[in-house]
């Protein structure tokens, strides 16, 4: 076999050489040679193929023995035994398969009594299934037994110190179940002759990964479990994508490549790499793809920087290899992508075996040695456990992104450039007949729902249409309403909001990029104040009591947008507002001896979240009496409970301005009364 591999390689090498010069006398014989080689290779492959049934032949016997030993009734069903795969691969999966079938029979299936109690047939079934899919063979092992007990696994995980309770809290059932494939894990209560000795699924997994396969697990408690193994048909010759990073070339096995995406760091291409707290991500259709830079993983950064300086290729355009390892999809950022080439995977020298990031090396058509990257290795290098908690990580990033997403209403008014206002602040969108606009006291008003509603324009020069209908945004608070005249309501978008430039223009908070366009964010507070100086003046939501100006608020929020949004609102309401970007800054204020009457704090913040912050505050005498109100964009009952536990006085959804105002004055009143 190696001989044929060598032949293929030499053929590739020759082809590469001839490709350089056109119309050569070698071309024709070489094509013939190439043809023969391909046929020879295919022929040999065929002879190497064996039906998977050969590896299964012993299983019925094993199951029969097991059912006898364990006193269970087991039915073994095998589908697709004629599915063929490379002999070498077959040898390597034989033992893992046997182990897994044993596992299913021993751990998975219940005793006949238990089965009857659970309302199942007395006889348990273990089903083996094999079929081809793409260049892979898929083997599933399923049973209709008790499934995996998540609670038991959780307990075990904590006992073995594989994860903390809080980490487990955020994991999906599937992630928790995947722990059984971690080293040193067995949920079997009794160590039996058959299984439960703690060396099990992790060995299976590493064996399968050794041959470039993946294993996935799905299990439903009480219904059974399904293991899915995906392995390449053959190991000898694989198709690989040749990429370049920091001037070095590497090969990525084609089977793990899902797709290629070209991205740029500027706005020229559709795909841009975005950063979440220094973690690069890519918006790929409907999902957020975590990215890893190959030069970071290989610690080639300095070299890359030098290259970048010389050629300034880097930074303008990057290629992302979307890679899938098990259920975990991530992108590898490389500098260049060449073509694909058939390669023969050769193991690396023993002194390099510990480098999990390379699955082997090979010689390319041009005679140079190239290292073959192992996507599994890269995934684990980046701190992700391939089967384990990767989705957790992924979800975390996704959450982080979603937290920042705000529904914005885009409109045009006073100029061509789009303006945006948080949708949650808008009460209604209306279109009014221009005829109905009246003027009182130099102010445009309109009769709206039996009341007089003042209208304000964005700027002096923005005009109201002469006839027809005029769109307005209605802002409302208790009994007062105000209409903001706009020229056109464009759209409602949900996007991450980052106020990048503070604005000097009155009525604008600043500019942010929304849907790829610089957009001004309207400062609603400014217009409210312009319209009614006393917007917050006499209503319920006034700052507490008579000491109007003396209520000092500390606002802790990592998002500049919310700080910018809330500060004017709170100031207008008569509070004396100080802000802190993060809890650390707030605590520094405490250390500096500052005092506040009330603290309003965000929950989701990097480094230290609101809960920890609240604990910090309560643990120190200086601010222990200061009430804290939590702000959060997604409020769940658990959050609420936890918030109360750690000492938040109240919990307000981030966009609920009225609730915030009410809570503020109520809390202050209660607190003030107590003092």
């Amino acid at each position: 076999m190696t001989m044929v591999s060598e032949l293929v390689l030499t053929r590739n090498q020759l082809l590469q050489m001839v490709r350089g010069m056109d119309d050569n006398e070698f071309t024709v014989p070489l094509q013939r040679l190439s043809h023969v080689t391909t046929e020879l290779q295919e022929g040999l492959m065929k002879t190497r193929m064996q039906p998977i049934g050969n590896a299964w032949s012993k299983l019925p016997r094993i199951i029969r023995d097991l059912s006898h030993d364990l006193g269970k009734k087991i039915d073994l069903v095998m589908h697709g035994a004629e599915t063929e795969l490379d002999r070498q691969v077959l040898e390597m999966i034989k033992d893992p398969l046997t182990h897994m079938v044993r596992n299913s029979a021993d751990h998975g299936l219940e005793t006949p009594d238990e089965r009857l109690k659970a309302g199942k047939k007395e006889t348990g079934r273990v089903v083996l299934d094999a079929y081809h899919e793409g260049g892979h063979i898929i083997i599933t092992i399923s049973d209709d037994g008790r499934g995996l007990n998540s609670d038991k696994i959780k307990k075990k995980v904590i006992e073995n110190g594989l994860a903390t309770e809080s980490e487990l809290e955020g994991m999906s059932t599937q992630q928790i179940q995947s722990f059984i494939m971690r080293p040193g894990f067995s949920t079997a209560e009794k160590v039996t002759n058959v299984s439960g000795r703690g060396v099990g699924m992790d060995v299976v997994r590493s064996n399968i990964e050794k041959i470039g396969g993946t294993i996935e697990l799905k299990s439903e408690e009480g219904k059974g479990s399904v293991f899915t193994i995906k392995i390449p048909l053959t190991l000898a010759i694989v198709s690989a994508l040749i990429v370049e990073c920091a001037g070095e070339r590497f090969a990525v096995p084609q089977i793990s490549v899902v797709e290629l995406v070209r991205a740029s760091t500027d706005k020229r291409s559709d795909n841009t790499i975005e950063m979440i707290n220094e973690a690069p991500v890519l918006r790929l259709r409907d999902r957020l793809l975590p990215l890893v830079h190959l030069n970071d993983i290989l610690r080639l950064e300095t070299a890359a920087d030098e290259v970048a300086e010389q050629s300034d290729v880097k930074g303008e355009e990057e290629f992302i290899i979307v890679t899938q390892v098990g259920a975990y999809t991530f992108g590898i950022v490389v500098d260049r992508v060449f073509d694909t080439e058939e390669i023969v995977v050769k193991p690396v020298a023993p002194i390099l075996r510990h480098l999990a990031i390379f699955s082997g090396n090979t010689i390319l058509g041009d005679g140079s040695v190239i290292m073959i990257l192992d996507p599994n290795g890269i995934a684990s290098q980046t701190g992700e456990n391939v089967i384990g908690d990767h989705t957790h990580e992924e979800e975390a990033t996704r959450n982080a992104a979603e937290t920042d997403k705000v529904a914005m209403l885009i409109c045009r008014a006073g100029g061509e450039e789009p303006k945006a206002v948080p949708l949650s602040l808008v009460a209604r969108l209306e279109e009014i007949e221009v005829d109905t606009i009246e003027h009182t006291n130099g102010q445009m008003v309109v009769q709206y729902r039996g009341k007089i509603m003042p209208l304000v324009t964005m700027s002096e020069d923005s005009k109201i249409v002469e006839t027809g209908r005029q769109p307005i945004l209605v802002f409302s608070d208790n009994e007062r309403t105000m209409g903001l005249v706009v020229e056109e309501i464009v759209d409602i978008v949900e996007d991450t909001l980052n106020v990048e430039m503070a604005s000097n223009v009155e009525g604008m908070i600043g500019s942010a990029v929304i849907r790829g366009k610089a957009t001004d964010i309207i400062d609603v507070g400014y217009y409210l104040q312009k319209c009614f100086g006393d917007w917050f003046g006499s209503s319920e939501s006034t700052a507490y009591g008579s000491s109007h100006s003396s209520q000092r608020i500390l606002l802790v929020d990592d998002s500049p947008f919310f700080r910018n949004m809330l500060v004017p609102l709170l100031s207008v309401a008569g509070y004396d507002v100080s802000t802190a970007e993060n809890p650390m800054e707030a605590l520094a204020m405490r250390d500096a001896g500052r005092e506040f009457d009330i603290i309003v704090s965000d929950i989701e913040m990097p480094e230290m979240d609101g809960f920890q912050f609240a604990e910090e505050v309560l643990n120190d005498d200086r601010w222990a009496d200061t009430p804290i109100i939590a702000l959060s964009s997604h409020t769940t009952p658990q959050d609420f409970d936890r918030g109360r536990q750690v000492g938040f006085s109240d919990y307000v959804a981030k966009f609920d301005r009225d609730a915030l105002m009410n809570t503020l004055s109520q809390t202050l009143r209660a607190g003030g009364g107590a003092r």
Binding site: E6, L9, T10, E248, R249, L298, R299, L300, K346, V348, A349, P350, I351, L352, R353, H354, L355, I357, F358, N361, T362, I363, G367, S368, V369, I370, M371
Partner: protein
């Protein structure tokens, strides 16, 4: 003088020092070569090269001995040896000649020798005008916590 008393060595120079490698372990001597860098590899590993279809791991002997790297990077030669069935290329400065030396003339390493040298050397021959340090290939390749044996 019987044959068993004589050992043949290929002499190589590294940073001006003469070294001897048992001739029977040497498979090839290569001139300038095209190396593929291996990121994350141990410091001593200079890269990998293609020797007639075989992938050979290249070890920088200077780094292994704790010597500063050479300025004439491109001019260097390498000696291919085999260890546990795997070929390794030892990157050295220059290859000299083959010497037949009597085994009883081999002297112990001086105790003051740098431990990195003592580790890889099986002894010293006193030559005319200079000293010849005999390299032990298996020890030379056994770095970074004996991962070779694994």
């Amino acid at each position: 003088m019987s044959n068993s008393d004589v050992q043949e060595y290929v002499t190589v120079t590294i940073a001006g020092q003469l070294f001897g490698i048992p001739v029977l372990q040497v498979h090839d001597v290569l001139g300038s070569i095209q190396l593929t860098n291996i990121p994350l590899a141990p410091n001593e590993v200079a890269g990998a090269l293609n020797l007639r279809g075989r992938i050979v791991t290249c070890i920088d002997v200077r780094k292994r001995l704790g010597l500063p790297s050479s300025e004439e990077e491109s001019q260097r030669m390498s000696v291919v040896v085999e260890h546990h069935g795997e070929p390794y290329a030892l990157l050295i400065d220059n290859v000299g000649e083959v010497l037949s030396l009597k085994t009883d003339q081999l002297e112990m390493n001086p105790a003051t020798l740098d431990h990195r040298w003592r580790e890889v050397s099986s002894g010293i021959y006193r030559m005319e005008g200079k000293l010849l340090v005999i390299l032990q290939i298996d020890r030379l390749l056994d770095f970074a916590g004996s991962s070779v044996a694994a």
